[in-house]
């Protein structure tokens, strides 16, 4: 898998960028809306992350495959169309085979279409890079998004409801823990996200400038 189809960047470099130096959430600050919306229960978050990783990888791959054919002036229409294509596929699959989850996520799966990360990677990478590089880049950006989402979701569900993935957690589900309802409510997402971004940017510190370029 090394070399990523003759691309300029190795898989390792792409992974490093997607997960760390150029992480979609705390590096590029994209896709914040869904980070805030679906992170109050870990299971919902996991499914959302899986859907995003799939959409992002596949749409990056497809956009890259078509890149030499796509006229510059209509490229964004084509990108949106391809993204929507994969998102609707995920939505149909959930409706047919996992109706409960489809209900839980409500409109958010459909809203992946407007998730800035997908369009951002299409414009920044898939448009100009060979297919395998685009696929790997999309995959790791999806992973980078996912681990941040989980980092926000786990404390929210634990502190707010005393459970993890719906299972009661010791101590937090007991009578000694007064559940922080606000963690499940929208403000909790802002607090957790801000803390996480602050933490990671502090650790990143001096690398920041390199990563942003």
């Amino acid at each position: 898998m090394n070399g990523a189809g003759g691309g300029q960047k190795s898989v390792k470099a792409l992974a490093m960028e997607g997960l760390w130096t150029n992480n979609p959430i705390f590096g590029q600050v994209l896709g914040i809306c869904s980070t805030l919306a679906v992170t109050n229960m870990v299971l919902n978050t996991l499914v959302m992350c899986a859907a995003l990783i799939l959409t992002l990888s596949m749409s990056s791959l497809s956009i890259s495959l078509l890149r030499s054919w796509t006229p510059r002036n209509i490229r964004m229409m084509i990108e949106t169309l391809i993204i929507a294509f994969y998102v609707i596929m995920v939505d149909i699959a959930l409706k047919a085979y996992w109706p409960e989850m489809s209900q839980n996520l409500g409109p958010y799966v459909g809203l992946i279409i407007t998730n800035c990360i997908v369009m951002g990677r299409a414009e920044a990478c898939a448009n100009t890079q060979p297919p395998l590089t685009a696929l790997v880049d999309g995959f790791f950006n999806g992973l980078g998004y996912s681990f941040m989402l989980l980092l926000v979701a786990i404390p929210r569900e634990l502190l707010g409801m005393g459970t993890i993935m719906g299972f009661a957690a010791p101590y937090f589900s007991g009578p000694h823990w007064d559940k922080w309802i606000i963690m499940v409510m929208p403000p909790g997402a802002f607090f957790m996200l801000a803390l996480a971004v602050w933490l990671f940017r502090s650790i990143q510190g001096p690398q920041q400038k390199e990563g942003a370029k």
Partner: protein
């Protein structure tokens, strides 16, 4: 469609239009096919969700972790469809007599429609249960209405007479047997749900001529016989 990579063709002004058309055609074609092929399944899922809600509201046991087929069989065997004499309610039939009614209800929740079913005793004075089959309330807050911790409170709940048959009160503040605990942090969902349930119950009882019946509280609402 795009066999010959002739440069001339790709620089023509009509090329972007044709290209967009071709890509759209392929993508939507696949999606329509996929959606058609799963339409039956999606419809069946919805039907099973509804039947499960009816059985749950009526307190009918379809077995431990029932399969969709089990639910459907039990539903067909025990529940009769609404007729004119039931004012839109399904009937649970035991030994030839009506054991309970299952009344579907719907109304606007905080984000979207809440749809569910409530089971009512034949004389309209006791709920056998409440179950939901469609809602998009906030996960973790309003959506907790579907959890057993909330719905089990409605099992064998005595109803008051009049237009407010039951009440959802903040945890720890209920004063009569016809009230249950609301969900903390989901006040909007709960007040709306309270209205939805009371409106549906009131309308149904009027239509069935069960207007006066009240199980728990006296009409002045001060009954405390729980």
């Amino acid at each position: 469609m795009t066999e010959k990579p002739a440069i001339k063709f790709r620089t023509r002004r009509s090329f972007p239009v044709l290209y967009m058309f071709a890509v759209t055609f392929v993508a939507t074609g696949i999606l329509i096919g996929l959606s058609r092929s799963t339409a039956g399944r999606v419809e069946a899922n919805k039907q099973i969700l509804f039947e499960r809600a009816v059985l749950s509201a009526l307190g009918v046991d379809a077995g431990q972790r029932p399969s969709p087929a089990n639910i459907h069989q039990t539903f067909l065997a025990q529940v009769k469809s609404p007729t004119e004499s039931t004012a839109g309610a399904y009937r649970l039939v035991r030994d030839g007599a009506t054991a309970a009614y299952a009344l579907p209800f719907a109304g606007r929740g905080f984000w979207n429609e809440i749809r569910g079913v409530m089971g009512i005793s034949p004389d309209g004075s006791v709920l056998t249960g409440v179950a939901f089959y469609e809602q998009s309330e906030t996960p973790g807050l309003g959506a907790e209405i579907v959890k057993p911790a909330f719905t089990e409170q409605f099992r064998n709940l005595k109803l008051a007479g009049g237009s407010s048959a039951l009440g959802l009160k903040p945890a720890g503040t209920k004063t009569s047997a016809s009230e249950v605990d609301a969900i903390t942090g989901a006040t909007q969902t709960c007040t709306r749900l309270e209205d939805i349930l009371n409106d549906a119950l009131g309308a149904w009882r009027r239509e069935m001529g069960l207007h006066e019946s009240g199980g728990a509280a006296a009409p002045d609402g001060s009954g405390e016989d729980g």
